[in-house]
């Protein structure tokens, strides 16, 4: 690099080009390999969830709309989801799921804050916001566990339930279970990343891009919940 007009930054980029920047001298769509592959993984996961939710739609359309007392009609969500851990069986439709939804939204916000502190190389800030994100995830999974045990107690099984069409129970357990598994995996991944932040892995690496990648996954879990929430609790 004899050319003095060339900045240090350019020097660095050229040195990296063959080894690190996808061997093409330039990153495709200015995204790192890991980030782009996370996006493509999320697309494939979207199709898995879409498969489940479209099956839900088809099976639901194959049943009569809700009517009280008709065993084969589709259950009314206001009737099914009306209990909370605090108020017991007092009739409070959709209140508990509202709490769960807000928890997930807030934990998405704390995740974005962790990513933002990561871009400033603020190790303490990243750890602070990651702890809150993990707590939000745990509260959500715990709430879902409570709702499951409540509905099982009410008599909901994969093959039948007291609220209406039998298929409702199977679809509920499969879809919210698959989503809950995603949240649980997210909590584990977030904890690993928190630990690596704590021991200074990303400071040594020189960037906090890993926070951004697990953040994409975490927001995806929130995004899927928007549609699970819509399908089971609203429509």
């Amino acid at each position: 690099m004899a050319d003095s007009a060339m900045t240090a930054h350019h020097d660095h980029a050229l040195e990296q080009s063959t080894e690190e920047l996808w061997s093409g001298g330039q990153e495709p769509v200015k995204a790192s390999y890991g980030k782009l592959m996370m996006w493509y993984f999320l697309i494939s996961d979207t199709f898995t969830f879409a498969g489940f939710l479209i099956a839900y739609a088809a099976i639901r359309f194959a049943h009569p709309t809700h009517s009280a007392g008709a065993w084969n009609s589709w259950p009314d969500p206001n009737e099914v989801f009306s209990a909370t851990p605090v108020t017991g069986h007092a009739n409070l439709p959709l209140i508990f799921v509202t709490f769960m939804t807000f928890t997930l939204i807030v934990s998405s916000v704390t995740m974005v804050r962790a990513v933002q502190e990561g871009t400033r190389m603020n190790r303490k800030g990243v750890m602070f916001w990651m702890v809150w994100t993990i707590l939000g995830g745990l509260v959500f999974v715990g709430s879902q566990a409570w709702e499951w045990q409540h509905l099982i107690h009410e008599g909901m099984t994969p093959t039948g339930n007291p609220f209406g069409a039998a298929a409702f129970g199977a679809l509920f357990f499969i879809i919210t279970g698959f989503h809950g598994a995603h949240v649980s995996v997210g909590v584990v991944i977030n904890s690993i990343v928190l630990f690596q932040t704590w021991i200074g892995t990303y400071d040594r690496r020189g960037h906090y891009e890993m926070i951004e990648k697990v953040g994409l996954y975490w927001h995806f879990v929130d995004l899927v919940w928007v549609y699970v929430f819509m399908a089971f609790y609203l429509l």
């Binding site: 769509v29 200015k30 697309i43 099956a55 088809a58 439709p93 939204i105 916000v109």
Partner: protein, 115 residues
Amino acid sequence: MATGITHEESIKRVYRVCGILAIVTAVEIIAALSHYSWLGLSEEAKVAAKLPLNVLFIVLSAAKAYYIMSEFMHLRYELKPLTISVMAPFLFLIWAIIAFSYEGVSWLQLRTWFG
């Protein structure tokens, strides 16, 4: 991070999106509960009231999905080809939703006719 905006500005945007998502969710819940309080209505009236509500729920959920993807997942600040390659596959889903819903209605008809 967000190109061309300051750290303070991007923090402000995150909390604004958080507020939007919270308000939209609250509106959805209130709409769903309002349907519940109409229990006194006849079955036909309930079904008729549910249809516009369902349209509202689908539109509001799409709005939430837009805000999560564009701001939280940062898609708004990425290069356009990345956004297109992420969004384009979802076109297939629009077809799948229409086709399988149509199929479900047909299953119900077959069941009703042939018991």
